[in-house]
Subunit: 242 residues, 2 copies
């Protein structure tokens, strides 16, 4: 509820399917350099702590000691209220990519009750489309000729941007809805769409995706989700009662 | 003489006594990502190109192919007109440290005839005081608890800062004096100091250092050096003729 600037403790770095323990260690060292400490691994290929420690150096050993390893990104994201996914501009053109700088500006508008996750995909394949769906912001680091940036270098650039200047913009005193709350809203929407027979047989997720997108842009706050859930609950009751 | 923004081709990355070929390769990849191509090594411990290539990846192989290796920093710097040295805040307190952002602002005031070198010291010991003397600017990346940043990560941050936004500030249409021209001025000053018996026996470099410092802050342009050399030459002639 405070209006103080967002703290580095509110921000977690999440590496999804990282392949090389050395990159995890280097990412930890970069985090440490810039004042971040919460590192989460989802399905790392080789969670070899000794190899991580080599590149983390003793400075960032504490981050390796306290990192957590999970197998479901969806579960891990539940407590987070704002999720950014990093992506390259390679391949399919994506809409709504923002620069690290714009991302920092958006983070600057969050409250000290918000919890921010920054997702980085595997070194070779990045994040899947399903994983990108969790993201409220898609962040792309501009590069020459779309050349791919080393994983730990990407972590450094994001952490550096977040630490280099005080966040700008008007602050929201209330935190955003977390991913668990949002998940319930999505489920309710799917139920409602099903109840009113709004579906595209060629692309069953079409309408739900549009609503998810709309709600993501709206930036639902904690109080908003109960409002939407109430509304959908009452609508469904009416439909089923009819 | 042009007023166009400074080009990445005007900027060289110089690694002084780098220890690990893998760091050189990672630095090359970071340079490539951000659009830089001129890499210079001064006395690398192990100039093993195969190990460099592994971390450079095929994207930055061209930078490894064209890097040059030298044994005298002073010689290498001769064509450069603006030299920045990166340094940590560890150890002795240094005056006049600037942030990467301020450095980019200063680079933004240079002409397209200027040639910029950014020096990075070895992974364990950085740059020596003698090497720091060549620098017109000492750049320090702010870190948490002064923890040391990996060499390639430091290169990435500087290149990222230089590429992330158009340079600001009023442009100077004329290039600065290069290090060879400056070297002649320093030599002339030492001759003059000797001729007028201005010396501190406890610290023979004391007065020369103060003049070097003053001229560095003045930012001598190409035309200025001949002016100073003429002046000192005439003064010496007068003294010797007397």
């Amino acid at each position: 509820m405070s209006n103080a600037p967002i703290q580095t403790q509110q921000i977690a770095i999440i590496l999804v399917r990282p392949r090389y323990p050395e990159n995890i260690g280097s990412a930890a060292r970069a985090m440490m350099n810039m004042g971040f400490s919460e590192l989460i691994l989802v399905n790392p290929l080789e969670p070899d702590q000794e190899r991580m420690r080599k590149t983390a150096t003793h400075h960032a050993a504490g981050i390796i000691d306290t990192l957590t390893i999970h197998d479901s990104l969806e579960e891990v994201l539940k407590p987070f209220t704002f999720v950014a996914a990093t992506t390259t501009r390679k391949g399919k053109k994506r809409h709504g990519l923002i620069t690290p700088q714009s991302f920092v500006e958006r983070v600057g508008t969050l409250s000290t009750d918000d919890k921010v996750a920054i997702l980085f995909g595997s070194e070779d394949k990045g994040l899947t489309n399903d994983e990108l769906r969790f993201a409220d912001a898609l962040v792309s680091i501009p590069t020459m000729d779309f050349s791919s940036i080393n994983l730990a270098q990407s972590v450094m650039i994001l952490c550096y941007e977040l630490s280099r200047k005080p966040p700008a913009g008007e602050k929201n005193p209330l935190r955003l809805a977390n991913k668990q709350e949002i998940g319930k809203v999505h489920e309710a929407i799917e139920n409602l769409l099903h109840a009113i027979d709004l579906h595209n047989p060629e692309n069953p997720d079409h309408w739900a995706a549009r609503f998810r997108n709309l709600l993501s842009r709206a930036g639902l706050r904690a109080g908003d989700t109960s409002l939407v859930l109430d509304f959908i609950g009452k609508t469904l009751k009416k439909i089923n009662g009819a």
